[in-house]
Amino acid sequence: MTRHISESELALYSTGDLSLGNRAMARLHLSQCERCRARVEAYLSDRKQLRDVAAGMPEGVNWNRLAAEMTANIRVGLAAGECVAPRTRKAAFQGWRPAAAVAGLAVLLVTGWWLNMPRGETQALGRVARVLMRGHGGIAFEEQGPTVEATASGIELRENGGSMGVSEGSAQPVAVSLSVQGSARAHYVDADTGQVTITSVYVQ
């Protein structure tokens, strides 16, 4: 008579979980050993009873109420998970708020440019942009510093393309002229006496 099979191996054999080799050895032993065969049958009987008990509902349990409680608990759990989960970042330029902020910044920049940058600078930038787009032409850079412009209103001092003011009295000049040596002249005539005054501004 060989040694009896251990309890754990008998339990595994009863559920079909013993390895293939051990299972064959166990089957050979069980065909010859009454005691071990009785243990296996006892295990199978207990298993069947447990299944029968598990298949039936406990007494006094309302299934509908239990299902509703379980559903509610699941929802509460999902909501709690939302609260503690890391927040997902939205795309940078989705929605109207970022667009409005960018538009506001653009308006501020354009207004600032318009108020501060001399017209000549803007025109010069425009010329440079045209040259870059055309791909030909030359760009020469003018000397910085005040210069003069003869206008119908009088002598206008300009610096970096922007006006620094016009020399003007109570009346319009009757004539203005430029000298390429670096000055501008304006002729004024007194309305009452006819006295002529010639003012000049020099930039060289």
Binding site: T111, H136, E159
Partner: protein, 355 residues
């Protein structure tokens, strides 16, 4: 920040000084500065000057013209101006007003805003001159005085030949020309200009005055879009006298056929009798958009001989249709026309009788 920068400015107290030499033929009677003031703009003070002086002829000769220097900073471009009053006839002991409105600059780093008015020169009825002449005002005032004498002579001859009606017609024609004379904005650009347009040369056409001592024979300027630069004119002296200075008037015609006097091209030179020389200026003119320069015309507007005497075009030379249309009348003609407009023909005739 940009907006704040644009709006930042502040009025400043203006220090004023009037400096006349001790031996000056004019003395200061009173001065007023109206609402003159200074404001800071960027790195400079912008001085808005409105000066009204009353001066007295404290010399012994009649004064024909005066030029005052107005200085806010000697070395700064835009820091120097002048006020000239031509066509005067101030006898000894008499007072006369000098008024001027100027916009000048002074660097903030040069100290508090200040302005100094000084005498540059006085021209007398015998064409003699007093003053430091730092602005070459002797030359300008002498040319104005010669133009005044020429024009008064012309108007007097007109009265003799065509009577009051002839003078009146001439006054009305001058008024009409002044009203119709085109005046467009022209900016002086120092050094090389900023222009991306392709450059090309445009030749000058010239108005020739038969009695003129100088003939412009050839010339051109570089044109790029609405800019003209580096005018170069070759001139020939037809006279028997050496010449040390001349001025050339520069007329421009745009793509719409409009003609206007753009600038004068002055030149200090050494032009021997019957010799040739070249007038060359490294400067550029920028015309208001959308002017596109199509053609240019030049004419000699004044000449100074080496001996200090002058030549100016005659009235008949100035009757060229282009010149009559674009050239400004002399200061004396401007004065007489204003007297006609304000007081009538008799006042003009009385004025002419004074000389």
């Amino acid at each position: 920040m940009l907006l704040a920068g644009a709006l930042t400015s502040g009025a400043q107290t203006l220090n004023r000084k009037i400096d006349l030499p001790k031996d000056s033929p004019v003395t200061l009677v009173s001065d007023a500065w109206g609402d003159s003031g200074a404001t800071i703009r960027g790195g400079a003070y912008v001085l808005d000057l409105h000066v009204a002086l009353t001066l007295r002829n404290s010399g012994q000769r009649r004064i024909r013209g005066i030029t005052l220097t107005v200085l806010t900073q000697e070395m700064t471009p835009g820091g120097k101006g002048s006020i000239s009053v031509p066509s005067l006839d101030i006898p000894p002991g008499e007072t006369f007003p000098v008024r001027g409105d100027l916009h000048l600059l002074r660097p903030v780093g040069a100290g508090a805003p200040q302005v100094e008015v000084a005498l540059d020169g006085v021209l007398f009825d015998d064409l003699s001159f007093y003053g430091p002449d730092k602005l070459h005002s002797q030359r300008s005032m002498t040319v104005w005085e010669l133009e005044a004498r020429r024009d008064r002579r012309y108007f007097k001859t007109l009265i003799e030949q065509a009577g009051r009606e002839g003078l009146q017609n001439e006054m009305l024609a001058s008024l009409a020309r002044q009203a119709d004379r085109p005046q467009y904005g022209v900016q002086l650009v120092r050094g090389r200009s900023t222009n991306a347009d392709p450059e090309h040369d445009v030749q000058f056409a010239f108005l020739h005055f038969p009695e003129g001592p100088v003939d412009p024979v050839d010339g051109l300027a570089r044109i790029a879009g609405n800019e003209a630069r580096a005018p170069r004119v070759e001139v020939r002296n037809r006279s028997d006298r050496a010449i040390r200075y001349l001025e050339i008037g520069w007329i421009v015609r745009d793509q719409q056929g409009r003609e206007f006097l753009a600038a004068s091209v002055p030149a200090d030179l050494s032009l021997p009798a019957h010799g040739s020389s070249q007038v060359l200026q490294d400067a550029a003119l920028r015309f208001q958009q959308p002017t596109s320069i199509q053609a240019m015309t030049g004419f000699v507007s004044s000449v100074e001989y080496a001996d200090g005497s002058y030549w100016i075009p005659s009235r008949s030379a100035l009757s060229d249709p282009t010149l009559r249309r674009v050239a400004a009348p002399s200061p004396e003609e401007q004065r007489l026309v204003q007297i006609y407009r304000k007081k009538g023909l008799d006042a003009v005739i009385e004025e002419l009788k004074k000389f």
